[in-house]
Symmetry: C3
Subunit: 269 residues, 3 copies
């Protein structure tokens, strides 16, 4: 089945309604910098965040969560152990999980962890171009959390990674790209202010886990997450005087965004 | 002595003045998700937060703090050790301390820790209905941080827990309930937006520790904390366009709230 | 060379342009309370934050970063190890680094760490009066993060610390003081609201690391960081209704501040 932009938009509207109706429990093992913003983004959207990231708790919780996010931004030793536990339990229980391989490539601890998690076959992988290239096995990594590579250059790596692991792979950038290894969808929404607050990309990974909890079609669900998130950013930017007020306006917009606003703005191709 | 709503309101007004006059030092050992918002809520209110949660420092600091909060939201190994150290030192020095048993019940690591801390007899316990039922020894826990039970169903457990431990027990929900095991006070303020930002309940625990630092009457002090906090939420909600702007407006309101606004709104019974 | 207020202001304007043109990579090993606000302040200003604080990663990253911040607010064991690794690597690679000895004096774990880091000769030290006095070897420390001493009382200690270590030493307070052990510069900007949000001082340390990355003249660079930061606070306070809206307005102002606004407000002497 090849999806059309119209069918993806229609799916996004339904998935957003579904998410708000069911408030899926989204477990996040994420970095210390963005953990507050991520929880607030999930709450604003209508999901139920739970930042359960201790060994001994992360596994059992992943069995009952609707979706799980593993974000490698500040993976201290206890959290690394909890991530491996959560991924194994999620696989065992059939819980979808998202891997966000933050700043892998040059940094050895997280790069080794990302390799181990890749072997566990994440449901979705989200990263910038450099991170996706590094996780697919090439490249030398970006500049901290900034991509040194452009989205278009990462598309062969994204397709390859999707085929290797069975994951949906999303590459973030001015125009985002999502692939299952065969189809390639582009979403051209968003605003540069999303790169001027920390957690702009990280919270998107959590939102992808929330949509995976309500959408069996993983490719369409990932596109829905991306579209909702970046359309909200676009609308919020219009009401902001800078990155500080944008952060608050973005949460407000995630809470109020409806299907018609989504239809009016979505740029899926 | 049985307290009247009028005397509790009058006490709340005095306690708020007292708090602002003395800026009590409030030590928080709290979770990574809400630590920033909690410190900002204390600062806005007029208290002096200190997030001292390392073994070797937590105990000595608890001896000089005005009040201590132990919140079990993300209790990593080092923090668990520091919590036990802080509670023992607080007891030894006569420092009041608040226990917030976040998401206990199904999650084993924090449930064991909560059990150990209950034995040390906290001054105040604050939780949602499921958490209070679990700490009192019943129930199977909530759904992550969300309560599966209603406040009214938790009142027998709250009374029992208060009698077992000597603590003031506060159950959070649409209408909050506070008991010392004999009297039961209800506060019907607040706004649903407080549940759409992370840390809405967690920061309240810290505010209870701040009021405990200035109010010898622990029951009235806990009611004062609750009333100030939920009236501020009500006022802030009227000036908010959603959860993002609510977060900022709430901090502004905690800073500006005065006794007259408290009197005009407080719904204590 | 003795600097004039005029030359320091002119340097500040150029350094701000330089910073925005080059977006230096600023590595922060900082406390859990302020890590989000710190990253957002750096992003708003135009720098590229990277919160890399794991042993095994912190050292390699300090070799490629433009500047490094070590903030002792919540130094858990892994982070302490990473800080020593980062400082040694920064020295080896010639990367400037800023030490913020939060709440040292009475708290033993961080006081011992600060002593070890002082021996590694930080490029810049930033603290309140009590922290600077404690790091210079005197005093008994403040009240948690609050200074018990006034800026003026800390000036002899600041001069002595600068001469002992070769660092630029900045003492924060209503009027900030900066010294290299010989010259003493005062900056009289800022607003009391900066003390009503958490991280007001901590993020300043990160901004000093960002300016050190673009300014070879360390004394003038530190004055530039302080002036930009406190002028932005002054302007933001005029557009704020309290500490919550101030936090957002401050980030907006860091992003929009230009050289003319700096010249109109700067109070360097």
């Amino acid at each position: 089945m090849s999806r059309t932009p119209e069918s993806l938009l229609s799916f996004s509207r339904s998935a957003l309604d579904e998410l708000r109706a069911h408030a899926p429990l989204v477990q996040c093992l994420t970095n210390a910098v963005v953990v507050n913003f991520t929880a607030n983004a999930l709450l604003a959207l209508g999901a139920a965040p739970a930042m359960v990231d201790l060994p001994g708790e992360a596994g059992p919780f992943a069995r009952v969560a609707g979706g799980v996010l593993l974000n490698l931004g500040t993976p201290a030793a206890e959290q690394r152990e909890a991530m491996l536990e959560a991924a194994a339990a999620a696989n065992d229980a059939g819980t979808p999980w998202v891997l966000d391989p933050v700043a892998i490539g040059a940094l050895p601890v997280r790069t080794a962890l990302a390799g181990a998690l890749r072997e566990l076959r994440p449901t979705v992988v989200r990263g910038n171009a450099s991170e996706i290239i590094a996780l697919a096995g090439g490249g030398s990594g970006g500049r901290g959390v900034d991509a040194a590579d452009a989205v278009e250059e990462a598309i062969p790596a994204a397709r390859s990674l999707a085929r290797q692991t069975g994951a949906i792979v999303a590459v973030s950038g001015p125009v985002d790209a999502v692939t299952d290894g065969r189809e390639l969808i582009r979403v051209a929404n968003g605003d540069a202010l999303l790169t001027r607050i920390t957690g702009g990309g990280c919270a998107l990974g959590a939102v992808m886990a929330a949509f995976a909890a309500v959408a069996e079609d993983r490719l369409a669900g990932t596109v829905a997450a991306l579209t909702v998130y970046t359309v909200a950013a676009e609308l919020a930017a219009e009401r902001s005087a800078g990155p500080g007020t944008f952060g608050a306006a973005f949460l407000d917009t995630l809470a109020s965004l409806d299907g018609d606003a989504l239809s009016a703005r979505a740029a899926i191709s």
